[in-house]
């Protein structure tokens, strides 16, 4: 049996070689970008890609000459606010759909589901007019308010709330817990994992917004990092490649760290919560 299930040594070497080659190809854009972020722009412009004049100068320039930290800070504020709001409002809605009995529940849930079919990208014209009329242009709130809730989040949490044992609700009823207490003391703690998954999704979703902030922000005070990087590219007119690569590295490294730590939650979200 061992002979059948255990691959031969040559087979293993071949597997590792293939894995390594593919990993290098997948990571190549990171590696090329990271490497050039240490090269003086002069060397890059002359095509001296293998120059040995490596230094942290591009990073020093990026931190001192560009508002990259401000952009990152803006994105952090917007993404955190969006995440917290979605955790609260999505879980409240999901609670209502699972634990409350009221007229029109099915209809309302269908309405929530229907919003998943309507792309935000196709609604930018009236939405722009709305936020303009509300006087929200060029502020943090303009990038948070439209995304305070998400039908996807409600749908995902509803699926997990429905999987809770019925005895929990019975126990809560016996103890005379009201809806708010049951929601706060039992439902939320019991669903920590799906809540963390939704948190990761909503944070990254807000972090990766591009079109909406581009339409609604005009100054570096509020511009999130995606649009900030675009702003830098247009200002630097693509010439200072070394520094541009350094700003990209500054932005991507924290995200990669967060991703590797939170990877488990993404996986469980996709494979359990969202797809159930």
């Amino acid at each position: 049996m061992d002979l059948v299930t255990k691959p031969k040594l040559s087979r293993r070497i071949w597997d590792y070689a293939l894995l390594t080659i593919l990993a290098v190809i997948v990571l190549a854009p990171f590696l090329i970008g990271l490497w050039t972020s240490f090269l003086p722009t002069m060397q890059i412009a002359q095509g001296n890609f293998l120059s040995t004049k490596v230094s942290f100068q591009n990073y020093i320039d990026a931190f001192t000459q560009t508002p990259i930290l401000r952009y990152l800070g803006n994105s952090l504020v917007i993404s955190t606010a969006t995440m917290v709001a979605q955790l609260i409002f999505c879980s409240m809605s999901a609670y209502a759909f699972v634990f409350l009995k009221f007229r029109g529940r099915k209809f309302l849930f269908g309405l929530f589901l229907a919003t998943m079919m309507l792309p935000f990208e196709a609604e930018i014209i009236p939405n722009f007019q709305t936020v303009k009329a509300m006087g929200l242009l060029n502020s943090y709130s303009v990038m948070v308010i439209p995304f305070l809730t998400s039908a996807f989040g409600v749908f995902m949490l509803r699926q997990s709330f429905m999987q809770m044992p019925a005895e929990l609700k019975e126990a809560a009823d016996i103890e005379g817990l009201g809806h708010f207490q049951f929601y706060w003391k039992m439902v939320l703690p019991y669903n920590r994992i799906p809540l963390m998954t939704l948190g990761a999704y909503s944070f990254l979703g807000a972090w990766n917004q591009y079109l909406w902030p581009m339409l609604t922000t005009f100054s570096n005070d509020f511009r999130p990092v995606q649009n900030g990087l675009r702003q830098l590219q247009s200002e630097e007119t693509f010439n200072d490649w070394g520094m541009i690569q350094a700003t990209a590295a500054i932005v991507v490294i924290p995200t990669l760290i967060v991703l590797f730590i939170g990877q488990h939650y993404f996986k469980s979200g996709v494979n359990e919560g969202a797809v159930k």
Binding site: V26, I124, T130, M162, A166, E167, L211, W241, V252, N271
Partner: protein, 320 residues
């Protein structure tokens, strides 16, 4: 005062057997309750308000605008019925945008899925240290659109870019990546695929690791080749996930905007002028809100159809 859950030993929630009975099956036990109604509105209110103002109202408003002519500030002037749609669907320019988008969407989806399958199949092998490769293969999930654009714009840069250098070293002909219409399209496709790869890989890997190992053991005893096993065991076993992830990729690609704005601005000669970029241009550059609204409705119909298909798959997976 309320007792804490832990004190009520007989029905302690922590000791409840999860597999016993699920709330979903007990739904009938609830009875209509006046108090519930108020709670329901309080709990649903905030979400309903946001969805109403930023999803439902704008959709109706867009539909409304698409039936009129508008002035430069987006106010309606003359009712024209469906003529904005007729104009679009007979305009060579719009049809070319539609064609370009379809080409992009299908190329991105097919290539992403194919590469995702190759990576996931390799990474699902039980080898020492495979965890490292799994982490590396999923790394592009952490890349946002502007970072991906910077990395790849340098790679594709015509004078000092990485590919241009490699072509020089190897004495190969230079490809004018971002200035030739066909090459620019492929540059955007390659960048999108790269960005998608980490996510697709993770989902497919998850599905593959759920395939019962006994199937492969039996195939090994029968002496089936690994290629045979891949096509006759792996692919059929993960087909619901495969279909699901293809649809997500497809839907997301229809909505592509950031990379196009950052890499090509719809050019050269409209070669990458895809649907969302067009809406943005027509509305916020040309001030043609009516036409942009009709384009938005066409996009919504396309996305809604694929999303409905996705819901069907979800339903199947629930019973799966």
């Amino acid at each position: 005062m309320l007792k804490s859950p832990a004190q009520s030993t007989p029905t302690s929630p922590l000791s409840v057997d999860k597999t016993k009975s699920k709330l979903a099956e007990q739904e009938t036990k609830f009875t209509l309750n006046a108090k519930d109604k108020y709670f329901a509105w309080a709990f649903l209110g905030p979400s309903l308000l946001i969805l109403g103002v930023f999803i439902f109202y704008p959709m109706i408003k867009t539909l409304y605008l698409s039936l009129f002519l508008t002035n430069t500030v987006g106010k309606t002037t003359v009712f024209v019925g469906l003529s904005n749609y007729m104009n679009l669907l007979t305009s060579a320019d719009y049809l070319s945008s539609l064609g370009v988008t379809l080409f992009y969407v299908f190329a991105v989806t097919i290539i992403t899925i194919a590469l995702g399958l190759i990576l996931a199949n390799l990474a699902s092998k039980r080898l020492p240290g495979i965890g490292l490769f799994r982490t590396l293969f999923s790394a592009t999930m952490g890349v946002s659109v502007s970072v991906a654009a910077i990395f790849w714009l340098f790679i594709f840069n015509p004078s000092t870019g990485f590919l241009s250098l490699v072509s020089t070293w190897m004495h190969l002909p230079q490809i004018p990546w971002l200035t030739d219409p066909t090459a620019a399209m492929w540059a955007v496709i390659i960048t999108t695929v790269w960005m998608n790869l980490g996510f697709t890989f993770l989902i497919l890997l998850g599905a593959m690791s759920a395939v019962p190992t006994t199937l492969y053991e039996a195939a090994n005893i029968e002496g089936a080749s690994s290629r045979f096993q891949f096509f006759h065991i792996t692919i059929p076993s993960i087909s619901p996930t495969l279909f699901f992830v293809s649809l997500i990729t497809l839907i997301e690609s229809f909505k592509s905007f950031g990379l196009i704005d950052l890499m090509t601005k719809g050019g050269p000669t409209n070669a990458t002028n895809m649907l969302v970029y067009r809406i943005y241009k027509d509305a916020f550059y040309s001030g043609n809100y009516a036409q942009a609204s009709a384009e938005s409705i066409i996009l919504t119909i396309i996305i809604a159809l694929f999303t409905l298909l996705q819901f069907k798959v979800l339903e199947k997976r629930v019973n799966y």
